[in-house]
Symmetry: C2
């Protein structure tokens, strides 16, 4: 309820200060207790007590290394990568991905499996997700690591309670995926979270993409649908019920085609990857989204070959996309809008048309400085973001018990 | 670069902790040092040192009152309203407002002056703004108060550097209002800020309106233009360059009327108060925005009288407004969208049509819980917000020197 600097976790200043130390180490390790005190403004006694807590929890360790200085040498501290693993998953209409990283962000595993998400019922889907999660958790735990948490990204509306309210491309409605996974995984000791896929992907961009220092960042998923993950002043915007980022149903053309949502002329009905494929490859069967990947590759092949029909369709798609980007740019004035998913492969043809439309429709000069770029993360960014989400809860001071 | 709890002012934990104490007192005073320690998680020694600092700066004072408890009685603390004043102003095309409040939020003065903003040049405007500011500051200082700061709201794009990039209804372009005011006021000891009017109005709603506990809040200005002030998780969203909230130029109808911005079918060309007046009172001269207030009153009079043409126009305006609200609701999932300015008087007729459109265009069930309400603050909310902005900088731990 205030706008000034504040610990978000208002009631727990110690958790906030633990977080300050942990994040300082993530960015600056190796460093000494004195370095941390100097950089954070915490006094040395407080830093020593916080560091002791982090060492006891095996999140931080002392290195043999010391720093030369007048007086006795200072012991250097680093994050301890070995004892823990954070697991993230992404569920799509055509595939699922699982990623595990250690506390220092090193990737421990990254698996991708075909998955008939659009035909499986929620119960079958939960079983498949749990089975893949179990194998990933089993692997990292066989290496002697403790699982800090599991976060699963789904393309749809996810309530703060972890219930998937609506996921059109999975044909889900009010699915309590978190409880189903907790049950299927035998009520494990680590937290399980379910989150919108675009929200997780933007966390991955922030932590592992080219935008670690970018406070105002938007990620657009480039699948059949178009979702937005929004980071404002370094914080993920989930909205009051966690439904923020429903970007694909922005009205772009009242006389446009009917959208999956039943409305006419929505952004994703005009600029979604499914719509692009239908426009460029009318001959191809676009019924099943599992067809999408080879079809996108075919679009890229024809674009490279200079097929004028495909180039026109890409330019039109980019123009509609730019209209949508201009709308968020006017409303939120982000520094960067990142095109993700299948848009990455298509970006060389989409971005020029999109940028022209962005500039034409922006009220602020030079589009308020908003840049439009392609993601540097491969498909499955949301899974990486799921793991990042787990590390964020640690970084925010909610530490695992010793 | 993190999304978890963190002091926004990362480098200065003490400022953050001062802010924690100050805000706790604002919400819970009178209370004892022990109460503060218990509620905030700060240890008692730290609280005592922070409180001593606040007392030295005359932001907090001890009351004679003590709390009965085992052991020695605890001295109670309250915010000290007497020594300081925060001043806010709002500049519009037809009037300007100045408001002064004390640290505890009590209103010390609230003046409104007619002002031909659309015809004055920036130099004349700055002189008029400075003259009114000088009189307000003079009055509070004659009462022995020290001015903590002055924040001026203008309807337009304001850079983080205080330069007004663009204010169409004032016909301003790249006006360094902050420097002009600092010069005209003889380089005063208090900070001067210039901010977008919608941003200030939403701060006023958060602090003095019905929404102090509302973390996700959007305020829409109801003037000739329609601007948005956005609060996300309790924090004002300014965007990368401070240009967030340009809501009035959302495309609503490609075949709609030409907007002041030169584009066609923008929200404010269809749902702005100027457009409504033109639609309902084609006979009235709508050339000068100084005419707007009596004309809005005439629209209200005719609506109350049941004039079918006016009721239809209000319903159409509400429908377009609802389209715009649905767009921000899908993107940001706010808890409340507040209609401000002239929309307040028109709300009984606008809201039913707007709510129907909001529900029809929202992806989330029940519009994601987003409520559409009329502001409880009168015209000039941005001036009140300007004063709130000054108090926010104090609350955030940037304290005045003793």
């Amino acid at each position: 309820m205030q706008t000034g600097p504040q610990p978000a976790d208002f009631a727990d200043v110690r958790a906030t200060n633990l977080a300050v130390v942990l994040r300082h180490l993530r960015m600056n390790a190796p460093c000494s207790r004195a370095d941390i005190a100097a950089a954070t403004g915490l006094n040395k006694a407080t830093v020593s007590s916080l560091v002791a807590d982090l060492i006891e929890r095996r999140l931080v360790r002392e290195t043999g290394m010391t720093e030369r200085r007048i007086g006795r040498p200072a012991t250097m501290l680093v994050l301890d990568g070995s004892p823990y693993a954070a697991v993230g998953m992404e569920v799509n209409a055509d595939y699922m991905t699982v990623v595990a990283v250690d506390l220092a962000g090193r990737k421990l595993l990254s698996w991708r499996r075909a998955f008939a998400g659009s035909s499986a019922n929620p119960g079958q889907a939960a079983a498949s997700i749990a089975a893949l999660a179990k194998r990933a958790v089993g692997k990292v735990e066989k290496e002697g690591r403790r699982t800090l948490g599991l976060t699963v990204g789904v393309p749809g509306l996810v309530g703060a309670d972890g219930i998937v309210r609506l996921a059109p491309n999975l044909r889900w409605h009010d699915v309590d995926l978190r409880s189903a996974l907790r049950k299927a995984l035998g009520d494990p000791p680590y937290p399980i979270e379910v989150e919108n896929d675009a929200n997780l992907a933007v966390l991955a961009e922030q932590r592992y993409g080219g935008f670690a220092e970018t406070g105002n960042l938007i990620y657009l998923t480039g699948e059949i649908g178009i979702g937005a993950g929004i980071i404002s002043e370094g914080r993920l915007m989930r909205g009051e019920r966690g439904f923020a980022g429903e970007f694909g149903h922005l009205l772009v053309d009242p006389s446009g085609p009917v959208c999956g949502c039943g409305r006419r002329g929505c952004l994703e009905a005009l600029a979604g990857v499914g719509a692009l494929v239908a426009r460029t490859l009318p001959d191809a069967a676009t019924s099943s989204p599992t067809e999408l990947e080879p079809e996108v590759e075919e679009v890229v092949r024809r674009a490279k070959a200079g097929d004028p029909k495909v180039l026109d369709a890409l330019a039109e798609t980019g123009k509609h996309l730019g209209h949508g980007v201009a709308t968020v740019a006017n409303l939120l004035n982000p520094e960067v809008v990142v095109l993700g998913g299948y848009f990455v492969q298509l970006a060389p043809w989409l971005i020029p048309a999109a940028e022209a439309e962005l500039r034409a429709r922006s009220i602020a000069p030079e589009a308020g400085g908003t840049r439009l770029v392609a993601s540097t993360l491969e498909l499955g960014a949301a899974a990486t973001g799921g793991a990042a989400r787990v590390l964020d809860t640690i970084d925010s001071g909610r530490l695992p018990t010793p």
